[in-house]
Each structure stands twice: as structure tokens, then as C-alpha cells.
């Protein structure tokens, strides 16, 4: 699912030379600030109800502001901040979760389908929690039981989802051998397939030069070409699927 993306604010391929080789900027700065600010505010709101009303309300209003920003950034942010593929990923989520039990984590630069599902659920619950919370402090809705209950249930669900999110991130970090927490701090992620494939890719590269493919190894059309005696380009052995080195982001989904 890699496509040309002129609207992206990432540098064309998002790559840098030195220590960022094979890395790509996935989470833009505003998204990262948003993520950690939200985490902080949810944490504050979680521990302050009934005790520190002022702080609790401040956190709630801050989350409303953060939600408003996220809505805007979902349309105007960089590639992985935008909502455009969330619908697609949501539909893929059930299958993804089933495959996950077999250890197939897939390769995603941005959110995986489970992450996208969690994002949607989280944003909805945050909206419910903050709106009902703000309603509770109005005279009109103060002490109205269903407002209070909605606020409590949505808020508890947020904490459960946040726990799932942390757990999922840690498990995925282990499975994919990439520190995803760090990625949400720095914004950079490894291009899938580059880390472990690199040495093997180099050896294939070295082998390629002296190797002359045998005629019977060639795909059918090319063999015909040769037998007809036409000048032919020596086929690149790496282009046959069996020998293709996994150098680039082959099969990367985003």
C-alpha cells in the first residue's frame, strides 16, 4: 500500500543518511506531542476524580482541546496522522486479530489494523467521557444519573483500552524487534525488512556479478528470445521471485 503522496510533509522518502539509514519519519511532531499530552492528561484525570475537582476538570477540558486538534490533524496532518485509511484498516481488524494468534504481526509503518480499531474506540470513548464530564458540572445536568454513569463507564473503558494499548505496543515491540515506544518519542521507525535482511541482501549482490544464468533456468519467454539469437540483456537473477533479496520495503503496508 505504498503510493505516491504529494501531500505528505515528509521528505520524499523520509530518509536520512547517517544513523537514520533505513529509517523513516512516521509520526510527525504534532502527533507525538498530542499523543504524550493526551497520555498525561488521561493519567491526571484518572487519579483525580472526587478528590482534586479543579485538576480533574482541567484535564478534561485539555482532552477536549486535544480531541479537537486530532480531528483537524486527521485531515491535515502527515500521512500516518491522517484518517483516510482508518476505515480500510477497521475492516481488516478482525482478520488481523485472528492472524495475530498465529504470530503473524504483519508489517505496518503506521498503525496496524488493531491499532486503528483501538484509535477509533479510544477517540469515541474520550469524546463520551469528556462531554458527559463537562455536562456534569452544569446545573442542568448535575446529578443526573445517566450522565454520571456514562462518564464513569466511558472513563473506566478508556483506562482499560490504554492498558491494552500499552500491552499491545510492548508485545509488538518484542515481536517485531523494534522499540515502538521510542518510535513515538523520536517519530522514526525502521523500514520493515531492512534490519535482518541487509547482510543476506549484500551477499546476493556479491554473488550476482560472476553468475551467468543457465538457459534452462530462465523463464520461458526469455529462453525463446535467446534461441532466436536476438541480442538479449542478461536477465537479472535477482528479479526472479525465488532469488529476490528482501532489501527494500517489499510488501510494506502503511
Amino acid at each position: 500500500m505504498r503510493e505516491a503522496d504529494p501531500g505528505s510533509r515528509n521528505p520524499p522518502s523520509g530518509r536520512r543518511a547517517d544513523h537514520h539509514a533505513n529509517s523513516v519519519l512516521v509520526w510527525d511532531l504534532p502527533l507525538r506531542v498530542w499523543h504524550w499530552a493526551l497520555a498525561g492528561m488521561v493519567l491526571i484525570a484518572w487519579v483525580t476524580p472526587n478528590v482534586y475537582d479543579g485538576l480533574h476538570q482541567f484535564a478534561g477540558y485539555a482532552v477536549i482541546g486535544l480531541l479537537a486538534f486530532r480531528l483537524v490533524w486527521g485531515f491535515f496532518g502527515t500521512r500516518h496522522s491522517r484518517f483516510e485509511k482508518v476505515g480500510l484498516k477497521l475492516r481488516a481488524a478482525p482478520t488481523y486479530l485472528r492472524n495475530l494468534r498465529r504470530g503473524d504481526t504483519g508489517r505496518y509503518l503506521g498503525l496496524n489494523p488493531a491499532g486503528a480499531a483501538l484509535l477509533v474506540a479510544m477517540l469515541a470513548l474520550l469524546a463520551i467521557s469528556t462531554v458527559t464530564g463537562a455536562m456534569q458540572v452544569t446545573v442542568r445536568f448535575f446529578g443526573v444519573w445517566w450522565i454520571e454513569d456514562s462518564h464513569a463507564y466511558a472513563s473506566h473503558a478508556i483506562i482499560v483500552l490504554a492498558g491494552l494499548h500499552v500491552l499491545g505496543t510492548l508485545v509488538m515491540s518484542r515481536l517485531q524487534r523494534e522499540n515502538l515506544v521510542r518510535a513515538m518519542v523520536t517519530g522514526w521507525k525502521q523500514v520493515p525488512g531492512t534490519v535482518r535482511a541487509a547482510p543476506r541482501a549484500r551477499s546476493v549482490e556479491a554473488d550476482r556479478v560472476p553468475l551467468q544464468p543457465q538457459a534452462d533456468e530462465l523463464p520461458q519467454p526469455q529462453r525463446e528470445q535467446q534461441t532466436r539469437g536476438e541480442p538479449s540483456v542478461v536477465p537479472n537473477i535477482a528479479s526472479t521471485s525465488a532469488a529476490r533479496p528482501r532489501t527494500g520495503p517489499v510488501g510494506v503496508r502503511d
Binding site: G40, L43, I44, W46, V47, T48, N50, V51, Y52, D53, V137, V139, F142, G143, V144, W145, N179, V181, R182, V185, T186
Partner: protein
């Protein structure tokens, strides 16, 4: 990894101070056995008599917590189920 340490420490401190702060709101009004408590409707009646518009009441710890509105302001009133004395008033 320095970055991660800073982050982990921050979260740990946050959770620690947070859980310490968790020590809830007003909760203790009586030591009396719940079976011999006066009915919650009595607490609501008392709030009404004091001029509050009662929105709801519930048990909070060993208190009756009554949600009342008076002069366009919102309050939580904590009554003792033992003798219906007003233990605590919290302006919301």
C-alpha cells in the same frame, strides 16, 4: 536508551503519586452497621427541607451523598445514615 529511562521514570513517578492521590473523596460518616441505617429517603427529605432541589442520592462509603442544587449552585451533601446529621458539604 537514556530517553527511555527518563520516560519510564516519569511514568513511574506519575503512577506512584497518582495512586497516592487516589485516596478518594469524603467517605466516612458512621461506624454503625448498615442494617440499622436510616433510609436514604430521609436524607433526601432533609436536604429538601434545607432548601435544596434534590437530583439524586446514593451511598458513598458510609455516607448518604445527596446531589442538591440551591440558588443555581451545585452541591454534594454528605449525611450520616446513623442520625442524618450533615457531615460535609461540597460545592461542585
Amino acid at each position: 536508551m537514556k530517553l527511555m529511562n527518563v520516560l519510564a521514570t516519569t511514568i513511574a513517578i506519575g503512577l506512584f503519586t497518582g495512586s497516592a492521590a487516589m485516596a478518594d473523596g469524603y467517605k466516612t460518616c458512621t461506624k454503625m452497621d448498615k442494617a440499622s441505617w436510616k433510609p436514604a429517603s430521609d436524607a433526601e427529605a432533609k436536604a429538601k427541607a434545607a432548601g435544596y432541589e434534590v437530583r439524586q442520592s446514593k451511598v458513598e462509603g458510609t455516607c448518604y451523598e445527596v446531589y442538591g442544587v440551591k440558588d443555581g449552585k451545585t452541591f454534594e451533601l454528605f449525611y450520616s445514615p446513623e442520625d442524618l446529621s450533615l457531615k460535609h458539604t461540597k460545592a461542585k
